[in-house]
Amino acid sequence: MGVFASLGERLNHIFSKLTKRGKLTELEIKQAMREIRVALLEADVNYAVAKDFIQKVTDKAIGEKILESLTPGQQVVKIVHEQLIELMGSTNAKLAVAPNPPTVIMMCGLQGAGKTTMCGKLAYMLKKQGKKPLLVACDIYRPAAIQQLKVVAQNAGVEFFEKGTISPVKIASEGVAHAKKMGYDTVILDTAGRLHINEELMQELQQIQKTVAPHEILLTVDAMTGQDAVNVAQSFDEKLNITGVILTKLDGDTRGGAALSIKAVTGKPIKFSGIGEKVGDLEPFYPDRMASRILGMGDVLTLIEKAQQAVDEKEMKKMEEKLRKNAFTLEDFLTQFEQIGKMGNLADLVAMIPGASKLKMGSIDEKQIVRYKAIIQSMTIAERQNPDIIKYSQRKRVAQGSGTTIQEVNQLLKQYEQSKLMMKNLNNHKLGRMLMGRKMPF
């Protein structure tokens, strides 16, 4: 299953016998849909949902005119892609706001979906928006769950409320009362993970719902969930009438077909997705990106966005200026290294492309960057700006000061000279373009 043998390519193979352009015929569409079905199943879209979806797309595609600019394969992918986006709904990352605060948000989901982590992320986001959220610990079952929420709250810089292991219904109502009294405008209830078929625990959630009347009931779902996603989502929705869904662990390389399944069976919007382990790693749900992912086309948009973030444009402009004046010093060399260091995150991001984890990324050795940094920082300002003055005794001193060896210092200086030479040879125009990141290496 090569990632780069994309769905489009595979489909083109089907259409390769097609000589004359024109309308897509029923037979060709059928063959193509078989490929699409496999793609959806490999992405963990529920088989019934996939079947339904294929039917809809087939109806739509038959008789569709092939656009001049596209190959038949691309054309089909385009139709499928559009339909996926349509099905997964528009971006709707807004949380309900209660007319009379506090707004109450109840989190729910299976064990290990990532509820507690997500509570912290939501609280952090709300805080950044100028709100005053309160995290309430209603998971009295899992060992140390309360402690975990407490740490999560600290990391997010928000307040935390607990009542030990008394009844979760009571904790919820006391938490909301506490928020009212103390002027918190949003309450986030962290509930215990539970199976959707555990009637007793589902009743507990219904009790909380009855008691505190949450404005949002958000189902947290692991993006790696397989076929069972429909059963889980349907059960939670039937019992609680959820208001939305949060997908977690989208920083993995899963294709996340669960998103489509859940939307198809509940009709409820997917509001956010968790994209990392840090408290700020939360973003609105983008149906278009999800559609690309499900089709195995990778989340290329996010990738490009992050790449642009990693390359600091201002820094690059400055560098360009310096190079033009041929004033590229060791300090600049260091800055450049740090930029590459930031691109290390990029390697992680590339791994988000489904299947890309199998590819060996030429990873940048972060330790090496730290050593180089130490070497350069052990030099005097004069030495950094004019490396020519660094002779043997200086090298010895620098090596000692940075805890490295003379060989390493030599190596660094050699690399510096090489890059300087290389950059001189590049003409300014080309270099500028390259540095501005307009021409990405992939």
């Binding site: 199976l195 009637e199 059963n231 993995g252 899963t254 294709r255």
Partner: protein, 298 residues
């Protein structure tokens, strides 16, 4: 009997509601395209995956032809046998003592809970257990593990949050040697398998164990969540490449997920399944039985 009898007590009714729709298929008589299509639906909806499903059905069709089977009822056992033999290809190495178990997996699959159950079960067999709280990353992970350790009165070696996991494992091994413990269980931080730096940390722990405790039999267990779909394949592949896995533990089989991805895995890897998690109680970790597992799908 059978390992699902226990969970079925509590969750029988609700769980059955999900299963009823597939029960009737073998009661129909004819073996036709429709029949195979319905079988395919069952396998796919159990997360067996597209490739493995195709393989299983191909094999079934062949055997139906060979054995000249005429009605659907007869195919049921043939199909089950195909699936069971696929799962039983890989044999489990029994525990010999002293042993060390490293438990790995992505976030939220139930590593800590599994370790708690393992510790309790070893203790019950009068084994002396040391737990290494190697998850120094997730908030309150070692506290969660400490609660489990306390329940079965087992020694736990931990360090403050953010500390080096390798150091914790090192200390635990020294402690186990000094106390002549039978079993060391190493918890590790949940990590998405595409985070290369975290995988490096795991390799380091692996090296420490091999260097410091060569006399112990060494098991590397990957914990998989039964709810997970085809991504489990990628998980196994990447962890296996990093440290070389020996066993699988599959958790959360008490829900409505079938964990059919084990069949996808069996088709591609030679990893045996050691145990199955079916609940939150200490005793809810039971030895894997391919037969019971396949029965639960149909």
């Amino acid at each position: 009997m059978g390992f699902f009898s226990k969970i079925l007590e509590g969750l029988k009714k609700t769980k059955q509601a999900f299963q009823n729709k597939i029960k009737y298929i073998f009661t129909k008589n004819e073996i036709d395209a429709n029949f195979y299509e319905e079988l395919e639906a069952i396998l796919l909806s159990s997360d067996v995956g597209h490739t493995a499903t195709d393989r299983i059905l191909e094999e079934l069709k062949q055997q139906v032809k060979q054995k000249k089977l005429k009605n659907a009822e007869e195919t049921k056992n043939v199909l089950k046998d195909i699936m069971v033999s696929l799962l039983e290809e890989n044999e489990l190495a029994p525990f010999t003592y002293p042993c060390i178990l490293m438990v790995v997996g992505v976030n939220g699959v139930g590593k800590t809970t599994t370790i708690g159950k393992l510790a309790a079960q070893f203790t019950k067999q009068k084994k002396n257990v040391v737990i290494a709280a190697g998850d120094t990353f997730r908030a309150a992970a070692s506290e969660q593990l400490a609660v489990w350790a306390d329940r079965s009165k087992v020694k736990i070696v931990k360090n403050s949050a953010g500390a080096d996991a390798g150091a914790v494992v090192f200390d635990a091994i020294q402690s186990a040697k000094a106390k002549q413990a039978d079993v060391v269980i190493v918890d590790t931080a949940g990590r998405l398998h595409n985070k290369s730096n975290l995988m490096e940390e795991l390799k380091k722990i692996d090296r420490i164990i091999q260097r410091e405790y060569p006399q112990a039999s060494y098991h590397k267990l990957i914990v998989l969540d039964a709810t997970t779909g085809q991504n489990a394949l990628e998980q196994v592949e990447v962890f296996d490449e990093a440290i070389g896995l020996t066993d699988i533990v599959i958790t959360k089989l008490d829900g409505t997920a079938k964990g059919g991805v084990l069949l996808s895995l069996a088709a591609e890897y030679t990893l045996p399944v050691r145990a199955v998690g079916v609940g939150e109680g200490v005793e809810d970790l039971i030895p894997f039985s391919a037969k019971d597992f396949v029965d639960s799908i149909f």
